[in-house]
């Protein structure tokens, strides 16, 4: 009852944002939505399986580069590149996941990091195909999606779809199976669950969603850069998710909002944003282990 009122209020705010936000605010909101989608995608694996992937930038970047290349080389209209971005990112996640989900804990993290850096290293130097470290620039998503308001709604829609998907998965038998595998792999096998398939499916879906975030990034930034694939991009999603609270479904989105807003705020006053972010994170880890969601006592929403 009270939660529903809150949700409605937030929805109203979100839907009407282009009308009450200043131009700059709208740009920041789009950035926040992109990161929210990316972080939610990442968190699908992290929260449900317990595996910390440090290579999700590869899927984000794969989505972005797919969009960029199709637009630049094949003249595709922007919106049409979305299914391609999701597909390519998902395929990449399938391949990387195939090798990675058999491992666990620190090895999984290192392996996903290594794969992603490998992709970065190739893209970053392959001037003929990807433009190398110059990236692909000068992209225009067309009259419609080039308008910040339209892009905002597109980002909001994609984020909502992604969030809904993750939520549905969380509440479904599949989600429970994933968490069972996370909680107690031996017991999970002993009730008849084979971890590999479940983990791979979750990882692939997560990568596909991250690709959708990359798709949005290209419209906002009008370019694609190798930076999208670098490990520090992966770290952004991880920070946003943990900052907001990985155990809450809306945690990554909340963390992304704070991360982007705080970043915009700090950067307008000082150039030392990484320093501030670092200090905030330190405080967070030392004093708020549940992330911001933990402040409200918000556990994993059993919605």
């Amino acid at each position: 009852m009270k939660t529903n009122a809150w949700i409605l209020a937030v929805l109203a705010l979100l839907l009407s944002a282009p009308w009450w936000l200043p131009d700059y605010g709208l740009e920041v909101a789009i950035q926040a939505l992109i990161l929210a989608l990316f972080a939610t995608a990442f968190n699908l694996v992290f929260a449900e399986t317990g595996l910390l992937s440090f290579g999700h930038a590869a899927f984000f970047g794969a989505g972005a580069y797919t969009v960029a290349l199709l637009m630049q080389r094949a003249g595709w209209p922007y919106l049409l590149t979305l299914p391609a971005a999701v597909l390519v990112a998902g395929l990449l996640a399938l391949v990387i996941g195939f090798f990675s989900v058999r491992t666990s804990r620190i090895y999984f993290t290192m392996l996903t990091l290594a794969f992603a850096q490998l992709v970065w290293a190739v893209v970053h130097k392959w001037y003929a195909f990807t433009g190398g470290d110059n990236g692909i620039t000068g992209l225009h998503p067309g009259a419609l999606w080039g308008d910040a308001r339209a892009l905002y709604y597109l980002a909001l829609l994609l984020f909502a779809l992604g969030f809904y998907l993750v939520r549905a998965l969380h509440n479904s038998p599949f989600g429970y199976a994933l968490r069972a595998i996370r909680d107690n792999p031996a017991r999970a096998e002993a009730v008849g669950l084979s971890p590999f398939g479940y983990l791979l499916a979750a990882f692939t879906l997560s990568g596909a969603l991250a690709g959708a975030a990359g798709f949005l990034q290209v419209a906002w930034q009008r370019s694609a850069f190798p930076d999208f694939l670098y490990w520090t991009k992966s770290a952004e999603a991880i920070i946003a998710a943990i900052l907001g609270g990985a155990q809450a479904l809306f945690g990554p989105a909340l963390g992304s909002l704070v991360f982007v807003e705080l970043g915009a705020f700090v950067q307008s006053r000082t150039e030392y944003w990484p320093l501030v972010l670092g200090l905030v994170l330190l405080a967070l880890v030392l004093f708020l282990p549940q992330g911001l969601a933990g402040l409200g006592g918000g556990g994993r929403a059993r919605g």
């Binding site: 509440n171 199976a177 069972a180 096998e189 002993a190 008849g192």
Partner: protein, 248 residues
Amino acid sequence: MVDVLEVSRVRKSFYGFVALDDVSLRVEPGRFHALVGPNGAGKTTLFNVIVGRYRPDAGEVRLEGRRLTGLPTHRVVRGGLGISFQRAQAFLSMSVLENVTLAVLAQEGRTRAAWRPLRDEREARERARELLGWVGLAERAGEPAEALPLGDLKRVDIAMALAGRPRLLLLDEPLAGLSRSERREMVRFIEELLRGLGLTLLFTEHDTEAVLRLADRITVLHQGRVLAEGAPDEIKNDARVVEAFLGE
């Protein structure tokens, strides 16, 4: 009458160390069969071979004539074997009911559904409630698993193991970690429940008193080999067995 479980001439070594050497075992329908032995005798290794965690170097494992050897655990479990590992009790992030519901769904191969909530799986939930009723935990269905004391967690575990209507229940040290009175409680519980359901049981256990009470038949392992097998009275008085246990 086909044996429920037949283990024949199983051999397993690790990096040259022979953990199991030519071990054979037969569990007859309806029996409570205990597997005992000093530490390091190979009980857990044999258990793990039977449930598919290890592949034996030689030998066979059959359930009612069907070959289980080499199958991974999740396939073994769907083939009529209910398992409860020693330290692997329940999924602590979920409620008691969710734990058992998941076990039921997993047995039916319906855990791949990603589009509707677990809540809506009515049949599975009903069956889960039934199982919880059997183990006497129906009132605690809605509680989080992590709030349960060990004894109750073990019951949840057994409820999960029963989800697939197994032919044979395999329990690895069901009494581990329990106090004396809890143990007696657990022994009584196992006896009543499983006799009532007509289930066959194979269990490993250290607690001699419990074993002698519960088991119809005992296989004693020592240093990877079967030292003796027989009815509790025979085993109790077998000099070799006594010596093996004293020597540990």
